[in-house]
């Protein structure tokens, strides 16, 4: 390099230090909450009969803290630290960096207060209430502006692969978050999602699956691409593997969401898409693992002494394991066994504990000594952390495999007589009690290791002082001449072939008849022509890509295109065309005011964390719970409550199965009606008076969203509510129980008793459209 002009750059590492320490702190909170809720499943008394300590409210706290507080802060630390160095410039705006930091911490505190109090949207990993949603979106935009602004003023021409993953993260999370959080408020603290029933299910799992992809995976891959070669002091294994696995990963990931809804009432074509795209995701995921592990070639001996590399190597290995397990679980027949069981929980934790937390630990151990200009306080302690964590994860996931497969097999098992082999749900739950205990042990070991890390880092920091890094970098040449225009990014041979391929593939897949046949031929031809063209002009194409890497805007637009396609094709047909949904001869009744009130209590208490409302078309389930779920039955449910885990039985058809008195006793003390149950008791439902005053506005909002509630005055709503409440209270009185008809438990019983009631859909089209 014979450029004599240099500029002096001082990196902004203070905000990196803050984000890192916040990640450690929130990591402790998230894991502590995790161990507590795991223990609650074994020992119900740990729910303490206290509303804000029950499992249904704390489980969202655990997941949100782990994802958004722990991994979020860790990601921001890694992105801000590595990006400044990879593009050789200081973060564009100190103000935005600190707004980002404090805004994010405030959001977390808001979540930690509202979730235990029962303020929730009732959608997994999207529970936070609408004012916080808006804050998250705004702070995310602050992050995006700060990041892209930094790219715009960079002193390094070309964008390294880590930056590609950061770009994909920022734009995709923004898209997912905003769409899945679209809501209409009914009050300052409550809102209904604008999507309902199957639409809500589809949007939710498009979001839920890709939150894992673009919040827990792509940013960490970017972090891997910076810190792993740094720590190993080895070159990255393969640049072209980076290119291929990046683009295939971001394009394919988005399509795989419906695998969370396999064997439900979701239309078959969506289920099939969810399954096959999950299978196709296997290789792109392993591309990342390969590039990580093979970069360690020539550095394996360092693993013995360097805790950083130990954590990275194990983290990447767990990434490989869980991205193999993912496609496996997305196979329809495997999913019939695994879905709703602990197997899914184990799968998630091999990702979050094995991949996220281990990569985080490696990064923390690498960063801390460098950011505070000192040496790690104790390598031995870090080693101990590693082994405690490793044993903890293995105990955890092994317990969940055994528990998941055992309960899955038992619940689906049908005797030759044509009846359930294990008719009693609690017998099945209690058969895996030892596994639940083992999970607590695994989680506690992992937490203990993490505490050791926190201690180690604090001691390290005490021996050093915050370091300010200033480097001399070559002054940038004016990029204007070489930078690629947006048109240059969009109109060129590789793009043309990709677009044609997607178009022909979609026509082949969806059009049917002659169009499909012709499209198939065209698709094959496009591949052939593209391959021939590549063999002739491969060098030119890679030049084009090199130039694309020098232009962040076209790169970002192409990434956005890649992630938009899948969701658009899956979701738009269901949103814009009611005809696309076959309601399957079942049509939900519109809730009465009392039932609606009960449903909101069901959502508030987080019942969906343990109970599904979707009977799958499997023999065992139909025998146990009744006819399988139809789309029309949850049509008016904002949000849908199909659930994703059964610690308790499915409730889709529980209405009318038990008398009111049974439910009344059950909520007060679940063990009085269900011996051996691990469900929390809900004594406050008997004390609290239902919020009748909120109902008129709630009903008005639902009417706006298309639910055909009859027109009623506030007074009529109140009267109807009390009339139905008195009916239930009167029925309870026959059994010698006296309770006021406006207590919350009455509303919840009313909701329970109408679950599973529907009418044939003949009259439906008229009323819905």
């Amino acid at each position: 390099m014979n450029n004599t002009q240099t500029v002096s750059v001082t990196y902004d590492d203070k905000v990196v230090r803050y984000f890192m320490l916040a990640a450690v702190l929130w990591g402790l909170v998230a894991m502590l909450a995790g161990v507590l809720i795991a223990a609650q499943m074994s020992f119900y008394v740990l729910n303490f009969d206290t509303s804000w300590l029950t499992f249904g409210r704390l489980r969202p706290l655990h997941t949100n803290a782990a994802i958004f507080a722990f991994v979020g802060n860790m990601m921001f630390a890694g992105i801000y630290h590595s990006t400044q160095r990879l593009v050789r410039t200081r973060l564009a705006s100190g103000f935005l960096s600190w707004l980002h930091f404090w805004g994010w911490q405030l959001i977390i505190v808001g979540a930690a207060i509202t979730l235990p109090l029962g303020f929730t949207r009732g959608k997994e990993y999207a529970e936070l209430i609408w004012p916080i949603n808006i804050a998250v979106a705004l702070i995310w935009v602050v992050f995006a502006i700060n990041f892209f602004w930094t790219l715009a003023v960079r002193n390094e021409k070309s964008l390294y692969v880590a930056i590609w993953f950061y770009i994909a993260t920022i734009i995709t999370v923004a898209m997912l978050y905003i769409v899945n959080h679209l809501s209409l408020p009914t009050s300052l603290l409550h809102s209904y999602p604008i999507f309902g029933g199957v639409q809500d299910a589809l949007v939710q799992w498009w979001y839920g699956h890709n939150a894992v992809a673009f919040f827990l995976t792509t940013p960490i891959l970017g972090i891997m691409y910076y810190y792993l070669p740094k720590a190993a002091e080895r070159p990255v294994y393969s640049y072209r593997l980076s290119v291929v696995h990046f683009w295939s990963l971001v394009f394919i990931y988005i399509w795989a969401g419906p695998h969370h809804l396999l064997n439900t009432a979701l239309p078959e074509w969506l289920q099939t898409l969810g399954m096959v795209f999950s299978l196709m995701l296997w290789a792109p995921s392993w591309g990342g693992m390969l590039n990580g592990l093979l970069t360690l070639r020539g550095a394996w001996h360092k693993l013995r002494t360097d805790p950083v590399l130990k954590f990275f190597a194990a983290g990447v290995t767990f990434y490989g394991m869980s991205t193999f397990e993912g496609p496996l679980l997305a196979i329809r027949s495997v999913n019939a066994l695994s879905h709703y069981t602990d197997w899914t929980i184990g799968h998630v934790h091999s990702g979050t504990l094995g991949w996220n937390s281990f990569m985080a630990a490696g990064m923390f151990y690498w960063l801390t000594p460098r950011l505070w200009g000192t040496r790690l306080y104790s390598t031995k302690l870090a080693d101990l952390h590693f082994w405690l964590g490793m044993v903890g994860i293995l105990l955890y996931i092994a317990a969940m495999w055994v528990s998941g497969i055992t309960t899955g097999l038992m619940l689906n098992s049908v005797t030759s007589e044509g009846v359930l082999a294990y008719p009693n749900f609690l017998e099945v739950v209690n058969s895996v009690r030892p596994m639940l205990h083992m999970r607590i042990l695994g989680g506690a070991l992992f937490l203990f290791g993490f505490i050791l890390m926190a201690y180690n880092l604090v001691r390290t920091i005490r021996t050093g002082k915050p370091v300010t890094t200033t480097v001399e970098v070559p002054a940038p040449e004016r990029r204007t001449a070489e930078g690629m225009s947006l048109a240059g990014g969009l109109f060129n041979a590789p793009m043309l072939y990709s677009v044609l391929l997607v178009v022909f593939a979609c026509l082949w897949g969806f059009a049917g008849g002659a169009v499909s046949t012709v499209s198939f031929v065209l698709m094959v031809e496009t591949v052939l022509v593209a391959m021939i063209h590549l063999s002739i002009s491969g060098a030119k194409w890679s030049q084009w890509y090199d130039r694309l890497l020098e232009s962040w805007l076209p790169f970002t637009v192409l990434t956005l295109l890649a992630v938009v396609i899948g969701g658009a094709i899956q979701i738009l047909p269901l949103v814009f065309s009611r005809q696309a949904v076959d309601y399957e001869q079942a049509m939900q009744y519109v809730y009465t005011p009392l039932e609606l009130c009960g449903r909101d209590i069901y959502v508030r208490e987080g019942c969906y964390n343990c109970h599904s409302q979707m009977i799958r078309p499997l023999v065992g389930e139909v025998l146990r719970y009744g006819p399988s779920g139809r789309l029309g039955e949850s049509l008016y449910d904002h949000p849908f409550q199909w659930g994703s885990k059964r610690t308790g039985p499915d409730l889709a058809r529980v209405g009318g199965k038990y008398p009111n008195a049974w439910h009344f006793q059950h909520f007060e003390n679940p063990r009085s009606t269900s011996i051996g149950s691990n469900m929390p008791a809900y004594p406050w439902l008997y004390r609290r008076t239902a919020d009748i005053g909120a109902l008129p506005e709630k009903i008005r909002v639902l009417r706006v969203l298309g639910v055909p509630f009859p027109e009623r005055s506030t007074e009529q709503i109140r009267e109807e509510f009390l009339a139905q409440g008195r009916e239930i209270a009167g029925d309870l009185e026959k059994g010698g129980v006296r309770i006021s008809p406006d207590k919350e438990v009455i509303a919840l019983i009313a909701y329970m008793q109408q679950l599973g009631k529907f009418k044939p859909d003949a009259e439906k089209q008229a009323s819905a459209d």
Binding site: Y237, A283, V419, L426, R624, K657
Partner: protein
């Protein structure tokens, strides 16, 4: 630890990022095979399932399966008679099995000593839905939905309902021995 390989293969890309260098290795063949294999399989799977005329909605498929299973079950066993149930109630092994089923499924509503609660008393000699052994058997099998008694037939199956009926009979001195056929 320098490895001896094809020197061209080990060429580094000219650009470095904050000191990080990159090889440009060929993609491993087995990895490419996995990628292409998954794509080919997915296309074939889609073609087979999405375009197959045999594809029926899940709820129709499962109803057919259950119909077949229940037909087969019907062919193998008929409902027990009063006499058979009475005899079972004298078999300690059957009664013990029935008691287990009772404890797991019935106790919550009918009480530990069959004294009733949410559900009816089963030892007071009063039978709203009939007190013959087969009446009890049928009540358990078909349930009494309007009174909150669930349908146990498809859940427990004939054999276990016979066991639990035998247990209930054994606790009820008021039930008369049916005349032998």
């Amino acid at each position: 630890m320098k490895q001896q390989t094809n020197p061209e293969d080990d060429a580094l890309r000219h650009h470095t990022y904050d000191g990080i260098q990159e090889y440009d290795k060929r993609l491993p063949n087995w990895w490419l095979f996995t990628l292409y294999g998954a794509i080919a399989f997915s296309a074939a799977y889609w073609a087979y399932y999405h375009w197959s005329a045999h594809m029926v909605p899940g709820y129709v498929r499962v109803e057919r399966q259950i119909e077949e299973i229940q037909k087969a079950a019907l062919a193998t066993g008929a409902a027990p008679t009063d006499v058979q149930l009475w005899r079972l109630s004298g078999d300690p092994a059957v009664v013990a099995a029935g008691q287990k089923i009772y404890t797991a499924n019935c106790v919550a509503c009918h009480g530990e000593n069959l004294e009733g609660g949410i559900g009816q008393n089963l030892v007071d000699g009063q039978w709203i839905h009939g007190g013959k052994p087969t009446d009890i058997y049928n009540t358990v099998t078909k349930g009494v939905l309007e009174k909150g008694m669930p349908v146990w037939g498809p859940v427990l199956g004939a054999a276990r309902i016979a066991d639990v009926t035998a247990f209930i009979i054994s606790k009820n001195p008021t039930i008369q021995k049916p005349p032998e056929e």
